[in-house]
Symmetry: C2
Subunit: 228 residues, 2 copies
């Protein structure tokens, strides 16, 4: 159906996979419904090629994966999507194709046996049904992650920078001095306990210079109101 | 919208994530539309809880991730979905929540700043828009993969077993004998070359006992027709 084709195109472009091939689609991939469902992935649909048979569609490929949800008693190696993505990137001299079946029925056995191996996406066995575009998205996602190898974590700082330790310690001392004045440190053991906790909190929070200004604003204001 | 809630429930159950919390949903998560869109993930919708505010919804959690597609000049650590899944599994004494925003607008800044960190899903920067259920699926998928740690590859054998080397070599010798009789090995250097290729092909194919029977059937039949 046109909507499934459009949504599959969207998922492909999400993962920077460009080349869509369609075997005997029931509805046109250039219909209004398909273009609308692609949410802006028109380029995939416009460049898609239509074939009369799976054999024709895979003719220039060297290695074919078939994606299937259920096992069919076929003697064939299986990979996770993760493993397949790794294989594809590790063997760039192969030209790879990945077969996805129609929404309801999945791939026909005649198509699966043309594949070198099967991709199975490990999901909750009690509820593993995916629609076509979700299967495309997950297989594409695995490929894209391994292809771009993104940095796993980052800290958004915007226009500020982390406050260095000198500035953080200066702030903590200012805070402690204000608290001293307020009389909260009446017992020496309580003082030490509170100081350690405050130092731990503000160290763990990885304060930026911009935020340090906000904190100075707060404690200066509190101080004024306490001395009224 | 009810359909988005239903599809998100489906994606959650795909990844064996059970607990859905909704903040001020516009439409009911128990409507016919929501149940139908969940494709059988009714249990998630029936157990879902509705809250008046994000603060209420996250009250009993210890650590909150916010999923966002665009950066908002907020000073906050960012993780990939992969890294976040790893954190969640590595620190089981935390009770985690993951915030997803409504389909069009995404999360409000007032919600994002309640989160300990942000999950960004690395996708094609030219086309990174996902619908709500796809974002839920990708974050859930990363968690589920690391949770179950599936074996990366397998070989479906069904009721047969791999033919052991004795049987494969016996088959190769039978094949070579038939070919000898047929006169194809006229030149000795050609014979060696063909033998090596045939041995490589049938070794690489990891033949099973069942398939070996098929191959014997084929070469025995060919032999008969050649000797007619």
């Amino acid at each position: 159906m046109a909507e499934n084709i459009g949504m599959a195109a969207r998922a492909m472009l999400n993962c920077d996979i460009q080349e869509m091939r369609l075997v005997n689609p029931r509805e046109s991939h250039l219909s209004e419904k398909a273009l609308s469902a692609s949410s802006g992935a028109d380029i995939i649909l416009k460049n898609a090629k239509v074939y009369k048979s799976t054999e024709d569609a895979i003719a220039d490929c060297d290695y074919i994966y078939a994606t299937t949800a259920r096992r069919r008693g076929m003697i064939k190696p299986i990979r996770t999507a993760h493993f397949a993505a790794n294989e594809i990137l590790a063997t760039p001299n192969h030209r790879y194709g990945i077969l996805f079946g129609p929404e309801r029925t999945g791939l026909h056995n005649d198509d699966v046996c043309l594949a070198d191996s099967i991709i199975e996406i490990p999901l909750n066995p009690e509820h593993c049904s995916l629609n076509l575009s979700q299967a495309v998205l997950l297989v594409g996602y695995e490929w894209y992650q391994q292809h771009i190898n993104p940095s796993e974590q980052e800290f958004i700082l915007g226009k500020t920078t982390f406050a260095n330790k000198e500035k953080v310690v200066l702030f903590l001392k200012t805070l402690e001095k204000k608290l001293e004045t307020s009389g909260i440190f009446s017992q020496p053991e309580k003082k030490q306990h509170m100081q350690i906790n405050l130092r731990n909190i503000f160290t763990r929070a990885q304060i930026t210079e911009q935020e340090l200004n906000t904190l100075y604003g707060v404690i200066n204001h509190l101080n004024i109101t306490e001395h009224k």
